[in-house]
Symmetry: C2
Subunit: 196 residues, 2 copies
Amino acid sequence: MIETRARRREIDQVASELFHAHGYAATSVRDIARALDIQGASLYAHVASKEDVLFSIVDRAAAAFEAAAASAEAETSTADPVERLAALVEAHVDVVTSDPRRASVFVTEWRHLSADRRAAMAARRDGYERRFRGVIADGVAVGAFRSTDTAIAATFVLTALNGIATWYRPDGRLSADAVADQYVDLALRSLTEDHR
Amino acid sequence: MIETRARRREIDQVASELFHAHGYAATSVRDIARALDIQGASLYAHVASKEDVLFSIVDRAAAAFEAAAASAEAETSTADPVERLAALVEAHVDVVTSDPRRASVFVTEWRHLSADRRAAMAARRDGYERRFRGVIADGVAVGAFRSTDTAIAATFVLTALNGIATWYRPDGRLSADAVADQYVDLALRSLTEDHR
DNA sequence: CCTACCGATCGGTAGG
DNA sequence: CCTACCGATCGGTAGG
């Protein structure tokens, strides 16, 4: 049992790599199997369908983003909106840099999910984005952020953060912490009324 | 002659739509043909390969970004870096909103080009990004932008701008001009040292 | 996890 | 732009 669960996780990891590099549609079941040194048909001993592999990756990524945001908000619930947004941004960047391929698949390949799963994922994304919009609206209300279209502001920040998944490499020039610091700074400055 | 050129442009437009909606790999030659009300094989009377269609779209998009940036820089060459960056950002947003599907294909599907074309496109992208880095570095040098990693700052801004291609719709809540205004503001604020 | 196999679809060509 | 067709590959199943 524990063996098969480990194998299942291996499949997700190998598939993340391939989906990230070539995209879901351009990756065949046999490509995934080859990376695991098994036959194409043997993959179906572990998964019901190719789409299940994609869903598993995307679902785990969504859960990671949700958990990180929830704990960031819990830890800063009494703080001012600037600090709360900083915590949200940092949490998001941390999830991306902790597994950039998974994050990249989450961001770019979720449209290949079945209609049901796509709709469910869209709802989760909306909920996640609402956290950002809420904090930004709070900041505008107390005068910490300049008056702005909160939907646009949240989208601006989130797309910039998600972009990290496309270029970040763990062995790159910048450490994950350095990226997080820079991005928190850039994101907050884009919204704050005035810098002292 | 003019007929075939018009047909060729029609192919690019239809393919942009499909590549944007489903991705290059998940779009078949027959999907494109069906949208044009012709047989799958008939498409080869107009194009040499499926990849040629992708290249045509991506190449036109790249040319549009380059031309817009060059003219923006020409018009503001003597201005201060803040104004020059504002012009670059506005030009970029204008290209995206003028044809969001083409821009989206350019941003997300270029990895499906052949190795040669991919390398050439990577070089053009580098050149384009260098314009942004250059203006940001100039701004840092004169104290208009705060000291920052110019590569990170340019990537932050450009990924946020490219994100517009994924959500902007001409019939949406915000006009192209409104989006451009907001994004210029957000991008500049993320970099400026102090707001008056 | 394997071998053997399935129908469907893929990008593309030949010849008009 | 069409019909007819190609070999290759696709996701997936049967039966062990």
